[in-house]
């Protein structure tokens, strides 16, 4: 088991290198470079001298492979470099101040989704074609089809403008420092309610669908028949025998959504003015802030690879059939 994991980990290294190389190439090929953007593209003030100075400062005057090698030698020492943005702060510091919010938001979102999607999926599957199933099917399609930004704006209009119950955007009220401790907590939570609601809505739809599908497949299996034939109560048949097996594909999907926890949602963060990773990345792309883009990419790519691995490993942990398969393979 450990050997398998290590081998997979080892194989991930060339893959990661490849990813960084291609990304590096692609972002440098995109038109517009930081030196141009910062010296006021196409403005009278944009003088060639300032531009050249920046290009030298950022090594942009060097050939691409030299730039890549330089970047790579730094990154293996876990030095993510400094942002090209005029504040020239370290990339890790920039990511560090954005990460907690995005993580918090996405973990809560994930938990809410799982907690709601599993029962919805199970109920819809066990009562296939019932009213509940039909209602959730409609709900799911609406969820899939609703654009985040539109739903967000509608909710903001309703709860923020019309009813005035919830704040519209941001993370904290402006008078936050002057509130009592519990007021502060409520203030923070109330700012997060709408973003989480919006982010959950779309994800919930997908997840509950997967759950339903997976459950439907399992309940048709022979061992479910035999469990019923043994005279077990339906709750035990579904809750114990069927559910555990139906959860397997969900684990994979959950694993694969790990990198998304870090990446952040651009749309939700922009609309709700939440200073998270998604916004950082978008701004970096607009400014052609290569170190921040690459730093972000490395982290997300690493996590994707790790998440893949973790999904596979946990899969084999909870599914004895796969575990056996691995052993046989090693022999």
């Amino acid at each position: 088991m450990l050997g398998y994991a290590l081998r997979r980990l080892f194989l991930a290294i060339p893959l990661l290198l490849g990813i960084t190389f291609v990304s590096f190439l692609v972002i440098h090929l995109a038109p517009g470079e930081p030196a141009e953007i910062q010296t006021g593209d196409l403005s009278v003030q944009s003088d060639a001298q300032a531009r050249q100075l920046l290009r030298e400062l950022y090594d942009l005057d060097k050939p691409l492979h030299v730039q890549y090698t330089k970047w790579l030698t730094r990154i293996v020492r876990l030095d993510f470099g400094k942002s090209f943005s005029p504040d020239s702060r370290p990339v890790l510091q920039k990511i560090g101040e954005r990460l907690p919010v995005t993580l918090l938001l996405n973990i809560i979102e994930m938990l809410v989704i799982v907690v709601l999607a599993v029962p919805i999926g199970v109920l819809a599957a066990t009562r296939q074609y019932s009213l509940f199933d039909k209602v959730t099917t409609v709900f799911v399609f609406v969820g899939f089809a609703t654009p985040d930004f539109w739903l967000a704006l509608l909710l903001m209009i309703l709860f923020g403008v019309q009813l005035g119950w919830l704040p519209i955007s941001g993370l904290r009220s402006l008078n936050w420092e002057y509130l009592s401790f519990w007021r502060q907590q409520w203030d923070f939570v109330s700012h997060l309610l709408l973003p989480i609601l919006v982010a959950t809505f779309g994800g919930l739809a997908g997840f509950s669908r997967y759950m339903r599908q997976s459950m439907l497949e399992v309940v048709r299996q022979d061992y479910i028949q035999s469990a019923r034939a043994k005279g077990l109560a339906e709750a035990i048949v579904i809750g114990k025998h069927a559910l555990r097996n139906a959860l397997l594909p969900i684990v994979t999907i959950l694993g694969l959504s790990l990198p998304g926890l870090i990446g952040g949602s651009v749309i939700v963060e922009s609309i709700f003015a939440i200073p998270g990773m998604g916004q950082l990345m978008v701004q970096a792309v607009f400014e052609r802030d290569y170190p921040v883009i690459m730093g972000n990419l490395v982290i997300v790519a690493t996590l994707t690879l790790v998440a893949n691995l973790v999904a596979d490993v946990t899969y084999s942990l909870i599914d004895p059939r796969i575990r056996v398969g691995v052993r046989r393979g090693r022999r």
């Binding site: 995109a30 403005s43 009278v44 003030q45 941001g170 916004q279």
Partner: protein, 549 residues
Amino acid sequence: MKRRAPFARLALILALGLAGCGVEADLVADHAAPSEKPAHGDTFIEALTGNISGLIPNVLSDSASFEVGSLIYNGLVTRDRDLNLIGELAESWRFSQDCLDLEFHLRRNVRWHDGEPFTAADVVFTYETMINPKTPTAYREDFRAVASVEAPDPYTVHVRYTQPYAKALQSWGIWMLPKHVLEPYVREGRLRDAPQNRSNPIGTGAYRFKEWKPGEKVVLVANPDYFEGRPYISRVVYRIIPSQATIFLELKAKGVDSAGLTALQFKRQTEYPAFRKAYHKYEYSANAYTYLGFNLRDPRFADRRVRQAFAYAINKRELIDGVLLGLGREATGPYKPGTWAYNPNVKRFAYDMDKARALLAEAGWKERNADGLLVRNGQPFAFELLTNQGNDERKKVAEIVQASLKELGVQVDIRVIEWASFLKEYIKKRRFEAIILGWGIGLDPDQYEIWHSSKTGPDELNQISYANPEVDALLEQGRTSCHQEERKKSYARLQEILAEDQPIVFLYFRDALPVVSSRVRGIVPSANGILYNFNEWYVPKHLQRYTAG
């Protein structure tokens, strides 16, 4: 709402500039009732769509940083409500008759935010910073004609120029930097790395830095020792809200105190009583115009009659009504009506299809083919009109131009291209036939870079390749005098030629449409927009919304 940098900044714009004049007539009366005395206190909340990129604006280039920076720092001069240059840190100045010597006398009661006195040494230091080849600034050009800057005593600065430079005075609106704090960083060429670029910048301005939470907010507090007295509004909070739609909703929920509206929001979505009660609306011409430009290397467009024909065929009023819901002004040239350089007596091209047809016929475009297109030497008149993505306004303008020219028998195909590649692949390489674009104009009328025939290189701004010896001479005269009356003559003639020549079809100046919370008093809309006297804005005691700070 964007605050202008104190420079003449001519930029091909994506964003809105602003300044101008006029307020909705019905609002003038209810400002500042006499019983409501100016009072200190309250917080003013403004929305920025982008994170600021630093706190030393001299080495930055985004409008958000300029807006914040202009409250923290001062220049030697600034612009008043009528756009005249007035002293800020300078008490007075004097030009020599030949425009080569400029002497400033500085205010004596100015202190930096850390308590040190502001002196002539700081002015010399700021100049040295700007011309230091290691300083990554976009404003070096302003100081290129300077021969020397000296400080004969702590409150006198003497500037000598190598040649007369029209923007000399204006260029000293540059934000003054503290020598005692920043000198080591400038010397090492690391001004951007200075801690003052990230927090606690030291300026002389009306507001001091309190905090900057990246991506979230920037907070400034009133400077009690400001040389013109403590400003009334105690705290200014810039909230960073990337989405325009969200800003608008925050405005409705009173989460922000001011924002710039779109024409649609201004006309259709804010005309209900509660909004009109909570906010005052302002409108004035922005410092930017939209135009239809041609590649003059194309023989079809090199013929002036063709360009004039197009000018006649495009109904500008209809364009403004259709695209901006009427919230704009017709452009007759590259200067904004109401500014000192503007010349109203130039040739105008009122909508006239017959004149347009006649001019095209004169230019040889007479016959029509089976599709109804004009033909010359067997070639139908068809061209591609480019504009950039992300600007709905320009796309609509392109569509109206397309329809107008179709009536003339000219086929126009519209192509919308992403901004960065639009600039790099099409504009800079001159690979276009016609474009819809805009110019942001500076407060100084010098437009040498745009119209002079020497400025047609790939990175230069005369993208249409316009060359007219008389225009060249006028531009040279205009930029080498420090006497406004002389300059005015040059630019008046320049506008006559440009109007006659129509190197581009000047379309319109869009209106800037800011709204500000109605509890704020002291706003006097002017040719210079509304923000120029921010320090004098106040909220009467009984209307103050925020007590903290």
